[in-house]
């Protein structure tokens, strides 16, 4: 966990106001593990005031990438960054996915921008394990397959792939999951994570989800990011205890 002033080395629009920004940040690159995030200062002034959290999307050598969607002022500022600009990044933060425990097939479930942490995770899955990526979006233009392998797609409006949500797609392709011992890694909007949790509990799959919450600090000092614990009284902090949790630990 450090703060660096990283130089932007690339920024590309993947389409539909989704951007990929790549920065030169050797120390963060070295320390990071998939599922962790960084808290990024998106302006040089006090407006917007707070940093903005983004999953680490990819690490290549000394370079770290983030994938983001232009939603408000903060991400709009980020989208205006140019190659050579400096970006003030605090990270890596939180706990990532456990990708080296006991399973044969890694199943990724991504809803919309939930795809962000998976390119990094995909590259880290140990040799010899199988990969399956279930990717959902509202419409064809919302599907993000960047950096992912063996993709199965769903859209709410049926413009591409399976018509329905990504958990319905999982259910429909359930036979693919029966072949081996699987572990599910999910990231996306909370309602999707809730459905994934239910699905995994039903079939007894091991599952980790990457959660989201409004954040101020991102590293445990403000207590702004509670998530209700399932295995104890009270709350976990998304930024410090998460953002990745096993589904048995949290109420979604």
């Amino acid at each position: 966990m450090i703060i660096v002033n990283a130089e932007v080395s690339e920024i590309v629009e993947l389409g539909n106001s989704i951007f990929l920004i790549k920065v030169h940040a050797p120390k963060i690159a070295r320390e990071s593990t998939p599922g962790q995030f960084c808290n990024i200062k998106v302006s040089e002034s006090n407006f917007p005031l707070l940093r903005r959290p983004f999953s680490i999307c990819e690490v290549k050598g000394d370079f770290v990438s983030f994938m983001f969607n232009v939603l408000g002022e903060g991400t709009r500022n980020l989208a205006h960054k140019k190659v050579g600009d400096a970006l003030d990044i605090l990270g890596p933060l939180g706990n990532g996915f456990k990708f080296d425990d006991d399973y044969e097939t890694a199943v990724f479930v991504a809803g919309g921008l939930g795809a962000a942490p998976f390119p990094f995770l995909t590259g880290k899955i140990p040799e010899g394990r199988k990969l399956l990526s279930f990717i959902g979006g509202r419409s064809e233009k919302d599907l993000i397959t960047y950096g992912m392998k063996n993709t199965l797609l769903s859209t709410d409006d049926g413009t591409k792939g399976f018509k329905g949500n990504v958990v319905e797609l999982l259910e429909a392709k359930k036979e693919l999951l029966d072949e081996s011992k699987i572990k599910v890694f999910a990231c996306g909007p909370t309602p999707m994570l809730r459905a994934v949790k239910e699905f995994c509990l039903k079939y007894g799959y091991n599952c980790e989800v990457s959660t989201e919450c409004a954040m101020a600090c991102g590293f445990g000092i403000c207590q702004g990011c509670p998530i209700q614990a399932e295995d104890k009284e009270g709350y976990y902090l998304v930024c410090k205890d998460g953002p990745v949790f096993n589904i048995n630990k949290v109420v979604l």
């Binding site: 005031l49 409004a214 101020a216 590293f219 403000c222 207590q223 702004g224």
Partner: protein, 314 residues
């Protein structure tokens, strides 16, 4: 420092200040609730270079805090309603104090309570701990029913809290005032009369924010406390008001982002100051502010930063 500076002893600046019997190496204090118990932030800044660290409000029993959403950003500010999530006095003494002991800074214990007896009891329990150098009594948390806000708006209660807390500890007692009152100086006066060592001002302003599509409050607690640069002008006016009317050391708080803001608070009357929200954005802000003030004093020929306190020209 350049060689010339080192040669010239005249350029040395004394940044130390005193709050009651507590001596701070510099006037920078980290505000309650914005650095937890020091653990996480110590990875990102050097706490040995900070005048004092104020702990997250501790209450007699642990509190789990409010359900999400607890925070929301506003224009140049943020609302929070954490709900005084904290580990409780026992755990605080058992696990938090030992960690804090390692730092060469003053640890100020901030206490929240839902009754006057509870304030007294917490202080009494923690007072023997050598690591704790002073108490800050939070009579002004706007985010839980029993967070003290009703005390903070009641002169008699503030008088009683000050008197009774002072009676159970020899350490300096700082009363943290609510800004959500008509006449903040009246509260400072009561604290002074009852022997309080200092007041800190301000805690957050009550605010809210709603989602216009769901028509629901953005934070679970409906209202929250507004902090950050947005409140700086209000905080400065409160500090000035107290300074002009009451003779008691003031710890200035509210929207400080850099050394310029900190100097402004000292000029209007603060002996020391606390930084809160800025820690979330720049965890090293305290050290940078200390360095900035040193340089400012040197350039302005201010030998002792305590000369800056209340040096406004009106």
């Amino acid at each position: 420092m350049t060689k010339k500076d080192v040669e010239n002893v005249e350029t040395t600046v004394d940044l130390s200040v005193k709050i009651g019997s507590m001596k701070l190496k510099n006037p920078v204090m980290l505000a309650s609730g914005t650095v937890g118990y020091g653990n996480e932030i110590s990875n990102l800044t050097d706490l040995n270079r900070i005048g004092a660290v104020v702990t997250k409000s501790v209450s007699l029993k642990p509190r789990k805090g409010n359900p999400p959403q607890r925070i929301v950003e506003t224009a140049s500010g943020m609302l929070n309603a954490i709900g005084l999530a904290n580990v409780g006095v026992e755990e605080f003494i058992r696990t938090k104090i030992p960690f804090l002991r390692q730092f060469d800074t003053n640890i100020v214990c901030n206490i929240a309570a839902s009754s006057i007896d509870e304030y007294v009891e917490c202080t009494r329990m923690i007072s023997p701990e050598e690591t704790i150098k002073a108490f800050e009594i939070n009579i002004s948390c706007p985010n839980v029913k029993e967070g003290g806000l009703m005390f903070g708006h009641d002169l008699k209660a503030v008088a009683e809290i000050t008197r009774r807390v002072k009676a159970v500890t020899d350490k300096p007692v700082i009363i943290k005032l609510s800004p959500n009152v008509s006449d903040i100086a009246a509260f400072a006066k009561v604290v002074s009369e009852e022997g309080g060592d200092a007041v800190s001002a301000i805690n957050t302003l009550v605010g809210t924010s709603f989602n216009i599509y769901t028509r629901r409050p953005k934070i679970f607690n409906v209202t929250g406390g507004l902090s950050g640069p947005a409140i700086k002008p209000v905080a400065l006016a409160k500090v000035l008001e107290i300074k002009r009317k009451v003779d008691i050391p003031i710890i200035g708080i509210g929207g400080i982002m850099n050394w310029q803001d900190a100097a402004e608070f000292m000029i209007v009357g603060a002996t020391a100051f606390e930084i809160g929200t800025v820690n979330f954005i720049n965890p090293n802000a305290g050290v940078e502010i200390s360095d900035g003030l040193w340089e400012y004093c040197r350039k302005m020929n201010i030998r002792k930063i305590s000369d800056l306190t209340g040096s406004y020209v009106i």
